[in-house]
Symmetry: C2
Subunit: 195 residues, 2 copies
Amino acid sequence: MPKIVDHEERRKHIAAVTWKVISEQGLRHATSRTIAKEAGLSQGALRHYFSNQESLLQFAIELVKEQLIERIKRLKEKKLEPVEQMNEYLLEFIPTNEQTLLEMEVWFAFVTLAKTEKNLNPDLVGLQTAIKDVIVFLQNEGVLKEIDVELEQEKLYALMNGMALNLYLEPAKINREKSKELIRNYLESILTQKR
Amino acid sequence: MPKIVDHEERRKHIAAVTWKVISEQGLRHATSRTIAKEAGLSQGALRHYFSNQESLLQFAIELVKEQLIERIKRLKEKKLEPVEQMNEYLLEFIPTNEQTLLEMEVWFAFVTLAKTEKNLNPDLVGLQTAIKDVIVFLQNEGVLKEIDVELEQEKLYALMNGMALNLYLEPAKINREKSKELIRNYLESILTQKR
């Protein structure tokens, strides 16, 4: 068994190095040569773990997703009241610190590349569903006023993507409390008055 | 004089070719070699017009801006009522057809590259101001309820950027009427009840 663990660990290390290269030098420089060098591997050894750039990038993005799922799992364990829980949940999808900014940088690099490299799969549907389900969840909790569900889902999805994009473009503006306030303000616009 | 006109025309032609290459092949392939070939020029001739890739990309993005300004100028001449005017104005910032989708593709490629190439200037402040001024304009027209101006400006800016990003990522969803409805729905959330 130890060999398998090492292999997986090494793959994760290479993915982390890839993130760093994308973040610091841009996707243009995330070549197998640069990544092998930064990871302290030969290009041949790198190919042993990832046969091409696409599979490496795909793995790097899967790790972003895994980490997000892990954070959401921990959040659920906190058992917050529904609106607060959804506010915190939505915050997980935008950069609120250096780690999540790095994830966002990898994600943007990936989706931009996926526009022209059709064998990359950014799973936009999964992301969209994860955001849009917030409206359904709150509706099932009975805390929403009468709304056009589909329209509000589109609005929330746009709002979240826009916040993420803005913070990606201007990381100096990252401020967890301000982002939380903006999301809260949106949620309040669809909550029943009595709250 | 004719020589100057030709020079400018040629620069615009090269910029248009650059857009096409970025859109179809991705920024990675927008090299001087590919662009020269697509524009029917030698690399030496291309250098005569743009000494490096950065100056070419910067020019390409200035053209995007010019075209946006031109469209807004024409919109103002229509003399619509304030809310409808702002709805139409905001629509100009997101993809609603093939031409504006192409502009968005160039813009995203540019801002992504500007993250690591510090001599590129995407003028995010100009864009931000152009969007945020909508709230001020409507407030001056006396059609808004009591709102937190700064927060609503952030919300609108995020909403617009998110809509643009979503349509860039999934161009099949481009639908002018649906986008207009989403913006209208947002504007209505801050308009006075009596409207």
